[in-house]
Assembly symmetry: C2
Homo-oligomer: 369 residues x 2
């Protein structure tokens, strides 16, 4: 039996609801995963994540590998125990961070040597090492090691990185040795549709539990991203989950769900929360703005998060002005809850066959906010 | 009827349990108040405070007066609404901060002019202004405006500050205009027992709802503090709560309860928590220490806080090493819970007539830790 089941398909669009079954329970899709880079979603306890309705989180293999290291996580009982999170976890393979955060020392067809951003130590990663690392960390969904090309790269280099990504995916699958974990392939190819299609069809031949679209939201135009997602989804099987990595804004997510994407991760709710930027259906609320100084209203009327049920905009603004940690914490909690409510509304509208109209209204709202 | 009731008096020591009735509910004493300087206990939500068993918090008039200001707190619904805390709050008068944090510009018999540490603005505080400020903030217990002398001051200056403190207390009582608030006087006088006794007896003549011992834990020897507390308590009426301001370590608190003190506040649980220092009955746990790197044990076995029920020492150490906000948050929560459990054990042992022996064992334990 496949780990993924499609429940409801939209009448007009490729959008759908589904259920991804994992060793730590099921995940309703479309799903959004908050990012717990080094084993913690910044400033938020697991209890607060659950209260915000979070069902699955992402952790970064790259960061955990460098600090505290695989052996430490194993000795501390594995990733779930380490993070005190008993629901599903997805780990990325480290590919994205190796190419975006590290000082690269050498890239070959076999793998990548890079300098740790923590202490400068030389580290080597390839498909086998990244897969073994994820097997040992013990997340429920793990990712193939991929080469994420820079956003402005020649077609030749884009081809080359896609070729490597395909070969590394084959090797990741061979190396994968933990039956409790689902393994997803990652489609690369920038915004070049020929390369994307070829990469997707080669990965589908290898046969993965799910397929991710990587290398987007790295500076390309919004329309290029939407077109690439939409085209790439056509090359992916309908019975497997599709995961758009590192995306995105509420509008990006709605657009991608319309194109048939099932899973998302992004640092936006927590990063923006730490910067006093709150998501709200009628446009963002910037809590540092002096208009909120005497405002008794919550960030978003009707929101059921612990921030909106308890704190006024004026108090939250004061916490930011006074460098009180509670400001970043409260707005992060609100944003996490906002994203979970967004995904809930997406799923509800899909189930009630009102998604297309609802999504168009939402996108107009976000465009004018 | 008095707001304070003594329930159980120890057979041998002046220690006792009691109940302080306030407009936002009762507080069992001996009680410890975490410090929410600017309207928030650093990094901790009101929900987490309640889970840690916190019954009353302290907020600083000085800080709130300078930022966001009285009018803002009033417009935002008063201090309880502002902090999202529906249990009792005590505000100090600002006296301590004026003399310790500010650049003083002028002290007279009437009051103090100082420069705000936020923006350098000149601010004037005296008994009437500090009392009106606290009336408007709306805490359940408020404090008289006092002059807190520097730790190494001449006897003449100590006399002078005690005289001012007495006169300012009389004026604070006259100015007090909010029947929902209890007003406490503050005994000053350094470690000079003649001055302490005179200050206490003058304040008792004015008649306050409770009496605080201020100006200690400012650098004097531990024995001097213990002796001063013990002697000062003898000059205070048995039917009013006694509050030792800004104290202290678990051993300080046990010692002061033995001398008859009912209430405490201190930044130690949260400040030390942010610095990876965890309180534990068998001696502190310093989470940055590499001995904890692979340690699966909680900070304190048997502790029922959300940190100890979920996270290993190794994971918490990693959060500190990686500058994850969750480290300071988790250890602060543990320390707050530790202090509440400590106060609970103090009250239980008093009720069961085992306090004297229990306290001596505890003090030996802390002395050797």
């Amino acid at each position: 039996m496949s780990a993924f089941e499609v429940f409801h398909e939209d009448a007009g669009l490729p959008a759908r609801t589904g259920l991804l079954r994992t060793a730590h329970g099921p995940v309703e899709t479309p799903a959004f995963m908050p990012v717990g880079t080094g084993g913690a979603v910044k400033g938020i306890t697991p209890q607060q994540l659950k209260e915000a309705g979070v069902g699955i989180v992402l952790a970064n293999t790259y960061h955990l590998l460098l600090r505290p290291g695989l052996e430490a996580v194993e000795k501390l009982g594995g990733l779930h125990k380490f993070m005190a999170w008993d629901r599903p976890i997805l780990t990325d393979s480290g590919g994205y961070q190796v190419f975006s955060l590290s000082q690269l020392t050498k890239v070959t067809d076999d793998g990548v040597e890079f300098a740790s951003h923590v202490d400068g130590a030389r580290v080597y990663l390839n498909a086998e090492i990244a897969t073994e690392a994820q097997n040992r960390l013990g997340a429920d969904v793990i990712m193939c090691f991929d080469q994420c090309p820079a956003s402005a790269v020649s077609r030749v280099d884009l081809e080359k990185s896609a070729d490597r990504t395909i070969r590394w995916a084959e090797r990741s699958k061979k190396a994968h040795a933990n039956d409790n974990q689902l393994l997803f392939g990652i489609v690369q190819g920038g915004t070049d549709m020929d390369i994307r299609r070829r990469c997707a069809s080669e990965l589908v031949k290898v046969d993965f539990d799910g397929y991710a679209i990587g290398g987007l939201s790295v500076g390309e135009a919004r329309e290029d991203m939407a077109r690439t997602v939409s085209e790439t989804v056509r090359s992916l099987p309908a019975d497997r989950p599709r995961y758009l990595m590192g995306v995105g804004t509420p509008a990006d997510i709605i657009t991608a769900v319309m194109a048939g994407v099932d899973m998302f991760d992004c640092v936006l709710p927590t990063r923006n929360g730490r910067n006093a930027f709150a998501f709200a259906e009628n446009g963002p609320v910037r809590l540092r703005n002096s208009v909120h100084a005497d405002c008794r209203e919550p960030i978003e009327a009707g929101c059921d998060c612990i921030c909106c049920r308890n704190f006024s905009r004026g108090a939250i603004r004061h916490f930011f002005n006074s460098q009180e940690m509670l400001g970043p914490i409260l707005v992060s909690i609100h944003n996490l809850r906002f994203y979970q409510r967004l995904m809930g509304r997406i799923r509800e509208n899909l189930k009630s066959n009102t998604f297309t109209e609802w999504a168009r209204v939402q996108l107009r709202k976000y465009a004018s906010a």
